[in-house]
């Protein structure tokens, strides 16, 4: 069993290293627990290389996406500090395999969340502030041909993320009714609402806190939590600049570098 997990992890790590997407890993995985075991193997590898864990992302938070994958629960992946990009700074071509973008509410914690079961009150107390965020998801799996097992093993299809720079207290924003829009060159390319994320982004955070305690790596003070998409994901192309606005939280930009120049491609 563990050998199959190692093989799945190796397949994914090879895709990262080569920049070429791999075949799905579901043939090596029997269930969602197995998939998290594979994710954890990759995480341990990265931690041993000195990457700093900066938080978590929650995925599969919309009813539409859950229906598409035939699941009734969200999933999560690891955020490392080197995956964070400053607002508007260029993201190099190839930095994320098969990139797509979505707008999310980010929560930044100033308390650990270590209870077996958390309430919304626990999460509100632990959240120092919220920020608008763009998550650039990606897939190491060829053509995004993923099942739940594939995406969980593949770090919940994490890529990079951009955080806005103006913290907002949860007391000053209605996250349930907050509108979201993503624009590219003035054209609206995605729109949504806070309620589209499991009914409320804080509900997703409660799920994450409970799940992480069960799996033995709880959320800690300082962690950033990307709570899940507020609307449809947007495919991105080299040269795109996406601006996301979340009503009450402000705006944030993801800028993708144009194609590599000839000398860079040597």
């Amino acid at each position: 069993m563990t050998e199959r997990h190692q093989a799945a992890a190796a397949r994914l790590l090879e895709a990262y290293a080569s920049g070429r997407p791999c075949e799905p890993v579901r043939d090596l995985i029997d269930g969602v627990d197995d998939a998290y075991a594979v994710q954890n193997l990759v995480t341990e590898r990265w931690l041993s290389q000195g990457r700093r864990l900066a938080g978590r992302k929650i995925g599969l938070t919309s009813k539409a996406v859950q229906r598409q994958l035939g699941v009734d629960s969200p999933d999560f992946g690891m955020l490392f500090a080197d995956m964070a990009v400053p607002d508007g700074e260029e993201i190099p071509v190839g930095a994320v395999l098969q990139p797509r973008a979505e707008a999310e509410v980010a929560l930044v914690l100033d308390r650990d969340l270590t209870h077996e079961r958390h309430t919304v009150a626990d999460v509100i107390r632990a959240a120092a502030f919220a920020l608008p965020a763009i998550e650039i998801v990606g897939s190491r799996v060829r053509d995004w041909d993923i099942t739940l097992a594939d995406t969980v093993a593949d770090n919940a299809s994490s890529g990079m993320y951009v955080l806005g720079n103006r913290p907002v207290s949860l007391r000053d924003v209605d996250l349930r009714m907050a509108g979201m829009v993503i624009e590219r060159r003035g054209d609206q390319v995605s729109s949504g609402i806070g309620a589209a994320c499991l009914g409320h982004p804080l509900h997703a955070a409660v799920w994450l806190a409970d799940t992480l305690v069960r799996l033995g790596r709880p959320l800690q003070a300082g962690d950033t939590v990307l709570t899940g998409a507020l609307g449809p994901v947007v495919p991105v192309a080299p040269g795109d600049v996406l601006e996301a606005r979340i009503d009450g939280l402000g705006d944030v930009r993801a800028a993708f570098a144009a194609e590599k120049s000839a000398e860079e491609e040597v």
């Binding site: 209605d174 349930r176 009714m177 907050a178 509108g179 979201m180 829009v181 624009e183 003035g186 054209d187 609206q188 390319v189 729109s191 949504g192 609402i193 806070g194 309620a195 589209a196 009914g199 609307g231 606005r245 009503d247």
Partner: protein, 249 residues
Amino acid sequence: MNPRLTAFAETLDEAVLNRRAVPRLTDTAPLDVAEAYEVQRAVIERRRARGEALIGVKMGFTSRAKMVQMGVDDVIWGLLTDAMLIESHLDTAGLIHPRIEPEIAFLLDRPVRTPADAVAAIGGIAVGYEVLDSRYEGFSFTLADVVADNASASGFGLGPWHRPKDVGNVGMLLEIDGRAVASGSSAAILGDPLRSLNAAARLACAAGIELQPGWVVLAGAATAAVPLPSGAHVRVSAAGLGHVEVTTR
């Protein structure tokens, strides 16, 4: 008026009165979009002859997804009469296959003589809903069919008017019997409902219709339309604009 178009108007008007869906007009005879607007106008004239008064316009195909689906690159519009305004109750037995969608509405407090007047003419902004009820079998139509059918307009309701403010990206929620069934942002309406208001002014001016003080412009939907059941309580809310409710029988 071309007798073919007069006959089309009669077909659509009687479909409403008889609560019976009809085959698509374009399945029976040719119809282009310019002619379709003539049919739309003729249907409204028949309603005015029965005592209804024009009180506004509605915009359709204001979402990118809908434009792509219909293969068009501009919005369409329809006309609203006072008989379409729903207070707090609606008997769905009078309808064919109603759907409902959350809308942003503008109230005009001065005439719009040129497209440039539109934004300055805003007297109020409200959350609203529109009840759509295509007169066509299976809610299926081409662009010309839906234009002739007054952009599927059937009825609409309005929440409390608010003073003009930014409604470019407010969350909107459609709940049926307390459960959220559709949600989105007003930004789904052409990126900002103001763009839809400007389009309404442009299309009205081009058609020689002056938008009047007191008229309502339904700017478009923040989500796809959902089937409207009977015996239901529906609430549509928008952040900062409160909500509007309707109970169906």
